[in-house]
Structure formats: structure tokens, C-alpha cells
């Protein structure tokens, strides 16, 4: 067994007709069974990386470089081959739980259908196992499970998504902004659920703008800005003693650390360093 | 034009074609009547004449020029449709604004009015009104206006409600803008394109309805030609001179089709 599950090497993403670089030559690797967090602010390209990884990049974007997932390179894989990975090898945990669940299907069924069609369980068994998964996450399978998504709170819906993630045979989970729009309490419980995933033996790639999430999850992290990774390493090391001025600024900008805006010269220095290649991204970040 | 920018590239050709046909139809009905012979001049000695230089599209059962009647009928149908659409839009937008802006009791009343109007089919109402005032242009236009407005009313109301709930409108209120100002600057500008698209599609539907009424025998007083009435008149001669039916039928269909060609991509573009 290879210890490194995902190895991204010199991945860059650019928009097709204009050849504008949106993500420039990003490299990092994720170890099997460990969490990895990608931190960055809006428009820094972190979501594009997740999309390139799962193969849902918009048609006018193209990726170069390599994404080695348990060996083979995913860049340039056909749609059909991609689909074979979905749910079976990798799983994307979507941003907004309520919108990601079918509004007209009972949630327990949405969990059980994965067991049924991906793991080949009998309908009855699948339903029973789905119930177990749901109650393992602290919900009542008989009451909450029989509800439709609109009846459940955002946090509960997120648990259903996690139950689905656990139900799939996929070992690699990509969580895109799992705490977006949640207030403090809910954010903490979401992080606990993600930790739970890791404990269950899954490998997690978490994409977030929230430093606290990264800190709580632990593992390795990478900080992105304007389509590039500015700093990476183990979570505590990067967050407690950041080297790069942007990381430092970001940490200081959080309310807990005094909420100091990132100094203008830090951003402009990076701008000149990368010159025109990432200009669109930079602007959007300001 | 600016509008074209909003239309996806794949449907631009379609919209342009539709607009071109519509322009031609409108132009033909505007200048055509001056070029063709009088549409009500009869010549009983040359009925069902084949197309010739005198009768561009042949002659009908009373020896009248089909081309002249087609062109004049188009002018009549289009003009009546225009009246209906303008009337419906005015009524609908006015009531819709009222309903959406004030809400509450006014809204409930207007919505019931919409229900009642929508439950009554336009063609039957036209028949009723035609009975009331003895047929003619006013009956047709009146009836189709009365039954045509709910669509505009509902969309206006929906947009008004939606815009009203947006923060920038509240910000405007807080900045001391008057209701009239907000209506003009914030709400009208959102309503207009929607109404324009709806009216384009409504234009097509109204032409269909007017021709149905003409077919059922309610419409302009003779000898004024009208597409639907021309079809009904010529139906008995369908087998021997099919073009008498096919020409006005094609005119109706092509015109409505062009309205759809223009309207549907616009509607789709607006939805996005």
C-alpha cells in the first residue's frame, strides 16, 4: 500500500480561449488516512483544485500537470473513466447540504441508495444499515431519517451528507467549505464530524477559508493566495509560527488575533512577484 | 443592439430570422395595401382565378384579389393584436404594481380578479361580448384585452414583490427616495424586459386567438378581410383551390412562428 494517496504535481488551471492562468503550478500530496487542509480566501483557486480533482471543471477551463491518485494520473482522464471513481474511490462533500440533498426523497433513502447500488446490498438491508449510519452520527434513524431534507436543520443535513460519505466505499473524501455559513457552534460540530471521518479510516482533503477549522483538523495544510501555494506544512507549525507574510497577515486578520487588515505592501509585493500571470485572481482577492 | 448581447450566440440567428420575418410582415401590411388593388373589389366573372399578373395569388370565391386581402387582412390582424397587447399590458402592469406594492387586501382582491378572469376562456368571453355589442372590432379587441391581462399582472406582481424585498430598495427608502422614484428606477426597469418578452409571446397568442374568432365568425365587419375569417370563408373551396385556405393559414402560422422565434430565446435568456 502506497502511503501517499494523492500527489498533485505542478497543477495549473487556465481558462481556455484567453489562456489566463487561474491556478499556477500547485504541488502538494495527501497521505493515506490523514486530513489535509487547503486554506485560502475567495478566488484563490482552492475550489478549482477540488474541481480538477473530481473532474467537474467547467468546459472552458483546462488543467495541466499531474494529479496522481493512488498511482494513475487523473489529468486528461475521460469522463467515463472519471465516473468510475465517483463514489467508489473518491467522494466530494458538497458545500450546501440542503441543496445537495434531493428535496423529494426521504433522507434515509438517500443514504441507503448508496449502499444498495454501490455496495450491492439488498433493499431491506441497505435501509437498515443506513439507519445504523444515521444513528451513529447522533440522529434518530426512525424519526429524522424519515424526514425530507427541508425538515432537518442545516447541521442535521450535513450529518446526512457525512452518512452518505461513510456509506460509500470511497476512501478519499473532498470536503469543499464544509463550514460555510455556519455559526460557531455548528462549525465546531461540523469539524468533529470531519474528524470522525478520518477516524473511520478515510482520507480527507478539506478546503476552507476558516483558520480555526484547519487548526482543529490538524494534519498538513497549505495556504493559497492568487492561485499559488504560499506556505505549507503541518498545521500547528504553519499556524503558530507562519513564515510567509501573507500567512502572518491572514492570522492576524482574524478577530481572535486582533483583526488587523493585511498590510497593502504584502499583497502588492506578491502581485509584482507573480506579475501578470495571475492578475485576474489577484484582483478578485482584494 | 444591446438586446442581442443577452441572447446566447446559438440562438442569435434564430432571433434575427424571426425579427426579419416580422419586420417584413409589418412592412408588407403597412405599404402592401397601397400597392395591391382594393381588397373588396369583386369580379364575379373571374372567381377562383389562378395566380396571374392581375391576381398575384389568384382570386377568391367573389373574384377578389387574394393577395390584396391577405395584405390588408394582415394589417387588420396585426393592428387589432397590437391594440389587445397594449391594452392588456397597461391593465396588467398597473394592477400588478398595485398588487405587489401594497399587498394585503388590495393584493388579495386583485388576485381573485385574476383567478376569475383566467377561469373564463377568452374566446367564450369574446362571444359573449360580441353578443353584447353586436360583434366587430371592439368586441374582439375588448374581449381579448379583458382576458389577456392576468399574465402581465402576475409577472409584474411577482417582480414587484421580489424587488421590493431586496435590500437596495430598502436602502433607497432609507435614503429618502419617494415611492414614485423607486417604482421608476428600480421596479420598472426590472419589469420592462420581462413584459417585453411576455408581450412578444402574447402577440403570437393573440394573433392565434383573433384568427380563431375570425374563424368562428366574430371579427371585423365585411368586407374588411381578416386572416381567420378568410380561412373560414374559403374552407368550402379547400379541395378545389387549396391556396385560398393555405395562404391565410400560412400567414397566421408564419407570423406566430416568428414571434415565437424572437420571443423564446429572449425568454430563456431572461430566465438565466
Amino acid at each position: 500500500m502506497n502511503e501517499i494517496l494523492l500527489n498533485i504535481n505542478n497543477l495549473s488551471i487556465s481558462s481556455m480561449p484567453e489562456h489566463k492562468t487561474l491556478v499556477g503550478s500547485v504541488s502538494f500530496s495527501v497521505r493515506r488516512g490523514e486530513p489535509f487542509t487547503l486554506i485560502g480566501e475567495t478566488g484563490c483557486g482552492k475550489t478549482l483544485i477540488a474541481q480538477a480533482l473530481t473532474g467537474v471543471l467547467a468546459k472552458d477551463l483546462s488543467a495541466t500537470g499531474s494529479i496522481e491518485f493512488d498511482g494513475p494520473n487523473l489529468v486528461g482522464l475521460s469522463g467515463k473513466e472519471r465516473r468510475k471513481l465517483w463514489g467508489r474511490r473518491m467522494f466530494l462533500l458538497p458545500q450546501e447540504p440542503r441543496l445537495a440533498l434531493n428535496p423529494t426523497m426521504r433522507v434515509i433513502k438517500q443514504v441507503s441508495e448508496v449502499l444498495r447500488y454501490l455496495r450491492g446490498q439488498q433493499p431491506k438491508n441497505a435501509l437498515k444499515n443506513a439507519g445504523t449510519l444515521i444513528s451513529d452520527l447522533g440522529m434518530s434513524s426512525s424519526r429524522d431519517g424519515r424526514h425530507y431534507p427541508f425538515r432537518l436543520s442545516g447541521g442535521m443535513n450535513q450529518r446526512i451528507l457525512l452518512a452518505i460519505a461513510l456509506a460509500t466505499p470511497a476512501e478519499f473524501i473532498v470536503a469543499d467549505e464544509p463550514t460555510k455559513g455556519l455559526d460557531a457552534d455548528l462549525r465546531d460540530s461540523a469539524v468533529r464530524l470531519l474528524q470522525n471521518l478520518v477516524e473511520q479510516g478515510k482520507t480527507l482533503l478539506c478546503i476552507t477559508h476558516d483558520l480555526a477549522v484547519a487548526r482543529d483538523l490538524g494534519g498538513n495544510i497549505a495556504v493559497m493566495y492568487g492561485g499559488y501555494i504560499v506556505e505549507s506544512g503541518p498545521a500547528e507549525k504553519v499556524l503558530d509560527s507562519p513564515v510567509h507574510p501573507y500567512t502572518q497577515g491572514l492570522i492576524k486578520a482574524s478577530p481572535e488575533n486582533g483583526m488587523e487588515p493585511i498590510p497593502e505592501h504584502v499583497l502588492s509585493s506578491m502581485k509584482t512577484a507573480w506579475n501578470s500571470s495571475g492578475s485576474r485572481q489577484m484582483e478578485a482577492c482584494l | 443592439m444591446k438586446v442581442m448581447a443577452y441572447i446566447p450566440e446559438s440562438s442569435r440567428l434564430q432571433v434575427a430570422t424571426g425579427a426579419f420575418i416580422l419586420l417584413s410582415v409589418a412592412l408588407l401590411s403597412m405599404i402592401g395595401p397601397h400597392l395591391t388593388p382594393d381588397p373588396s373589389t369583386q369580379n364575379l366573372s373571374s372567381v377562383f382565378a389562378d395566380p396571374s399578373s392581375e391576381y398575384l395569388l389568384g382570386s377568391d370565391h367573389l373574384g377578389r384579389s387574394v393577395a390584396a386581402r391577405l395584405v390588408r387582412g394582415g394589417a387588420n390582424s396585426l393592428f387589432n393584436t397590437l391594440l389587445c397587447v397594449i391594452g392588456s399590458v397597461l391593465i396588467g402592469v398597473f394592477l400588478g404594481l398595485f398588487s405587489g406594492w401594497y399587498g394585503g387586501f388590495i393584493d388579495a382582491t386583485i388576485m381573485r380578479l385574476v383567478d376569475i378572469t383566467m377561469s373564463f376562456p377568452g374566446i367564450l368571453l369574446a362571444l359573449l361580448i360580441a353578443g353584447l355589442i353586436g360583434g366587430g372590432q371592439i368586441a374582439v379587441v375588448g374581449a381579448l384585452t379583458i382576458t389577456g391581462w392576468p399574465d402581465y399582472c402576475r409577472i409584474t406582481r411577482a417582480i414587484t414583490q421580489n424587488v421590493k424585498s431586496r435590500p437596495y430598495v430598502e436602502a433607497g427608502v432609507l435614503a429618502g427616495f419617494s415611492g414614485r422614484f423607486i417604482l421608476r428606477k428600480y421596479i420598472f426597469i426590472e419589469i420592462l424586459p420581462q413584459i417585453a418578452v411576455l408581450a412578444t409571446l402574447g402577440f403570437g397568442r393573440t394573433i392565434l386567438n383573433i384568427s380563431s374568432l375570425g374563424f368562428l365568425g366574430i371579427g371585423l365587419a365585411p368586407p374588411e378581410p381578416e386572416w381567420g375569417a378568410m380561412i373560414a370563408e374559403s374552407l368550402p373551396y379547400l379541395r378545389q383551390s387549396p391556396y385560398l385556405v393555405l395562404a391565410p393559414a400560412a400567414a397566421v402560422s408564419i407570423t406566430v412562428f416568428s414571434f415565437l422565434l424572437v420571443g423564446q430565446p429572449l425568454a430563456r435568456a431572461l430566465k438565466k
Partner: protein
């Protein structure tokens, strides 16, 4: 659960509804298609369907030549004072429910129409009684046309069991060769041959009457072979079907006239010259040929050839626009700058009211419009409902109207002539307006007293001469009745007065 319930509910509802609509297929059935649906199940209202399908019968009927022949009455006679009629009923006539035809039933049926309802204007019937097998009808004045009236469908005789307690009619039980089996919404009537019919039995066992108001649809049904007899087709449809294999067209002239009704109280029509000028401006032959597809229907006088009232010695109506102009100028009209005749500032311009329930009328009106325009007369057409005409006749606002007038309601047209041209105080609202002739009134009185055909014929000629000369209404064209008959049947004869049953004598072709 909810889902299933609603699905079940909807399906049952639809199946039930569909089951009631979709009945059995017709085979070996004589299908008659006509524009007229029944208005109610009562001979007084919708007897035309049942008499013409041979289901109910009247005391007398048309002989097809303008005369009257016996039906349920085997003979009749009139007393010397010409005021008491005796009709002797035929024996051994059975109703479809098996009961026998009795005098009481006949008295009941006749008095409903003749004395209670006074359905026929100007029929002076006082009482209807019976004596043995004789029906005695007393009139207040001599009324020679009574037998003709007793051939009208509304005097059809139905069985005692057909009436409700309150005297209204519950069902149709007649004495004819076809028995009514079922109806579907008053537009479809299914009949079966009645095996105890007193006369010649029907040779086709089943018949169906179907009302299809759209003329073009009727023509198409004939063409597709769905209808054996398609009635009242348009001239163009008839012309077209003539060339279709498997169909023959029977066209008969009927005593119905398209005429221009004038309000002679108006300036435009108050002199004979003006009315004649209008008449001369009409190219009847052109209209008849181009629009009605039969030049022979151009009216040269009010009454068509098929009528007893047709007068061969009249000076015929012709087309002469120049003479029309001369007459108008003589009457004081001068052409104005627009080429329209005018007296001072008042143009010769009037409104014509017509209706579309009889299909050719609006077309003829348009033809008239253009012919009048050619002379210098402006006419506006208003197409509405037929009832506009009597209503606006009554309040005097009508100017002109184009209408189809049936002078063959009963084979003798005197009733209609009286109602249209007779004394103003008893005149109906369809006929002449603002015109009266005391000479004509006297002649009508004389005619009702004339029980001798020779004398009657003389009076008829005088009456029609007055109408031709004074033109209180302007005849435009006569009617042809076009019927498409499938080649699958033989023996179809059409009665110009539309009284005898269509299926009479009809057989499947061998």
C-alpha cells in the same frame, strides 16, 4: 397511500365518464347527417327530426308536388259554411308502444299546437274535438289552407304514454316506420324499424340521425363514407362531391328565398322607383353562378318554380344598372363628389343586417355590397344573429336585412305571405316594413275563402303580380337543397317541402 388513492380516483372517474361517452359502433345503419340538433324532446319544438326520420306522423303530408295528401287521416271534408272540417282517422294504426291510435290522442296533440299555443299566426282555429273516428276542427273564418297546416311537424301525433302529468312531453312515441331507440344528447338519434307499421315497412332495419352543424364537416363525412345521406350542403361542397366516386348529389329547389328586406319608411326606399332601382342594380345571375354555383337559382320573382305561387306571366326581375341610375336620378338623387348618390348632404347609404347561421348569406351580402357600390349606393354590412332582424323590425331601427325566408313552412305559402305582406296589425316581424297594400289584403282574404283550385290559382297570380310590381322586399335568389347520397343506398327521394321522411323507400343498393 395518498398517491394511490388519487390515482385510483382519477382513473375511475375517467373510465366512468368515457364509458358513458363512447357507445357502440354503427354498422348496417342508415346514417342521416343534418345541421339541426334537437332543441328538446317535443314534437312542437323538434318534430322536424322525428317526422323526417319517419318516427312520428301527421294527419296530412306533402305529395311532393306542392299539394297535400292524406297520412294518418285517410280523408277529409269541409262543411258548407267552410268553417267546420272533418278529418277521418286511419284505422289499425299502432303506436310504437303497442297502443292504438285514438281520437283523444289526436285531439290532444292538435289542440296543443292549434288552440293552446297558437303556433301558427293567422290560423283561425277555434276548437278541436272528436266524434267517433272523426276529428272535428272548427275555425272562426274560412281557412282553406288547414290541411296544409296539418302536415307541419309540430302537429305530429304521439302516444298518450309520451306525455307527463303536466302535459309536457316525456318521450317520443310515434306511429311511423321507425321507432326511436335511443338518443345521445339531442344530437344523435337511433331508430329501428317498427314491425307493426300500418303502411310499407322500412327496408333498412336501423337508422341514425346525427346533427353536425358545420357544413364542411358534413361534406367531409359524406366523402369519407360515414354518412349515407348528408343534408343541406353548400353549393361548392355539392359541386366538389359530384366528382367524388361513391356519392351522388341530389339538388332540389325548395320554396325558400334569399331576399332583401327593406324599411320603406326610410327616404331611400319609400318609392317604387327607388326599390326597383335597387333591384335593377343586383346582378342576380352573377351571384347565382359565382357564389351559389347554379345560375338557375337567380330569382326572377319572389316565388321559385317549385312553389304553387310561382307565376309564369310576370315581367321578370333583371339586371340593368344603367336603368337603375336613371330611376334614382328621376327620384331626385344626384351623384356627389364621391360618386355616391345623395339628396343634399344625405348620401344614399344604409346598413344591411344579416346573419351567419345560414352560411351563404354573408357572402351574398358582400356581393350585393360591391354591386350597389358600382351603381353609387353605399351599404354597410353588419353580421349578427338572426334574431336581430325581428327585434329591430319591432323598434323600427332596421334599415335593410338580407335573410332566407321559408315560404314552404307548409306546402301552401299563404300563411307566410299573409304574415309578411298582409295587414300591418297582424304582420309578423320578418316581412315588409312600412309598406301595405289594401288590394293585397283583400286578395288574401279571398284566397282563404277559395276552396276551388282554379279560383285560388287566379288569386295567387294577382297577389304575386302586386309583389313583383311594388317590390316591398327584393328577392335575390332561390334556394337549392343539396344532399349527398351514398351510392350504397337507393331510392332516396327528396321532398321540396321537407315534410316526407328521408328514409322513405330507401334500400341498400344490391
Amino acid at each position: 397511500m395518498l398517491k394511490k388513492l388519487s390515482v385510483i380516483f382519477f382513473c375511475t372517474f375517467f373510465v366512468l365518464a368515457a364509458g358513458q361517452v363512447i357507445a357502440s359502433q354503427s354498422d348496417n345503419t342508415l346514417v342521416v347527417v343534418s345541421p339541426w340538433k334537437a332543441k328538446g324532446m317535443d314534437p312542437v319544438i323538434s318534430g322536424f327530426i322525428f317526422t323526417r326520420m319517419g318516427c312520428i306522423e301527421t294527419l296530412a303530408t306533402s305529395d311532393g308536388k306542392g299539394g297535400i295528401e292524406p297520412k294518418l287521416a285517410k280523408r277529409w271534408s269541409v262543411s258548407n259554411d267552410k268553417m267546420t272540417w272533418t278529418f277521418t282517422l286511419r284505422d289499425k294504426v299502432l303506436f310504437h308502444d303497442g297502443t292504438a291510435l285514438t281520437e283523444e290522442t289526436v285531439v290532444k296533440a292538435l289542440s296543443r299546437v292549434l288552440t293552446e299555443k297558437k303556433l301558427f299566426k293567422g290560423t283561425p282555429v277555434e276548437s278541436v274535438t272528436s266524434k267517433g273516428r272523426d276529428i272535428i276542427i272548427k275555425t272562426s273564418s274560412p281557412f282553406a289552407a288547414l290541411p296544409a297546416y296539418l302536415s307541419h311537424y309540430s302537429t305530429g301525433i304521439i302516444a298518450p304514454a309520451a306525455y307527463n302529468d303536466d302535459g309536457s312531453v316525456a318521450e317520443i312515441i310515434g306511429t311511423g316506420f321507425y321507432r326511436l331507440v335511443s338518443t345521445n344528447g339531442k344530437t344523435v338519434f337511433d331508430f329501428e324499424a317498427f314491425d307493426k307499421y300500418w303502411g310499407k315497412q322500412a327496408s333498412i332495419q336501423k337508422a341514425r340521425y346525427l346533427a353536425v352543424p358545420n357544413g364542411e364537416t358534413r361534406a367531409l363525412m359524406a366523402e369519407s363514407g360515414e354518412a349515407d345521406i348528408s343534408l343541406t350542403l353548400s353549393a361548392t361542397a355539392a359541386e366538389r362531391l359530384q366528382e367524388t366516386s361513391g356519392i351522388s348529389i341530389i339538388s332540389t329547389a325548395i320554396p325558400r328565398v334569399r331576399l332583401l328586406k327593406l324599411n320603406a319608411n326610410l327616404d331611400f326606399f319609400d318609392t317604387i322607383e327607388e326599390r326597383l332601382a335597387l333591384s335593377l342594380a343586383i346582378d342576380r345571375k352573377g351571384i347565382a353562378k359565382a357564389v351559389l354555383k347554379n345560375q338557375k337559382t337567380a330569382a326572377t320573382q319572389l316565388m321559385p318554380e317549385v312553389s304553387l305561387w310561382h307565376n309564369t306571366r310576370l315581367e321578370l326581375l333583371v339586371y340593368n344598372p344603367k336603368k337603375a341610375c336613371r330611376l334614382l336620378e328621376k327620384a331626385g338623387w344626384k351623384k356627389n363628389a364621391d360618386g355616391i348618390y345623395a339628396k343634399g348632404s344625405k348620401e344614399f347609404a344604409f346598413e344591411l343586417v344579416t346573419y351567419s347561421s345560414r352560411p351563404m348569406l354573408p357572402v351574398v351580402a358582400e356581393a350585393l355590397q360591391s354591386q350597389f357600390a358600382a351603381v353609387g349606393i353605399r351599404m354597410k354590412i353588419s353580421v349578427g344573429k338572426s334574431t336581430q332582424i325581428p327585434a329591430r323590425h319591432k323598434d323600427g331601427t332596421i334599415e335593410t336585412a338580407l335573410l332566407g325566408r321559408n315560404f314552404g313552412l307548409v306546402p301552401d305559402s299563404v300563411g307566410t305571405i299573409n304574415a309578411d305582406f298582409g295587414p300591418i296589425d297582424s304582420r309578423g316581424s320578418w316581412g315588409a316594413l312600412g309598406w301595405e297594400s289594401s288590394k293585397l289584403n283583400k286578395l288574401i282574404d279571398n284566397y282563404l275563402n277559395a276552396f276551388n283550385e282554379k279560383e285560388a290559382s287566379k288569386i295567387r297570380k294577382k297577389i304575386t303580380a302586386i309583389l313583383q310590381e311594388e317590390l316591398p322586399v327584393i328577392p335575390v335568389s332561390w334556394y337549392d337543397h343539396h344532399v349527398a347520397v351514398s351510392k350504397g343506398i337507393t331510392g332516396v327521394k327528396l321532398d321540396a317541402f321537407e315534410l316526407r321522411p328521408y328514409p322513405e323507400g330507401v334500400q341498400w343498393a344490391k
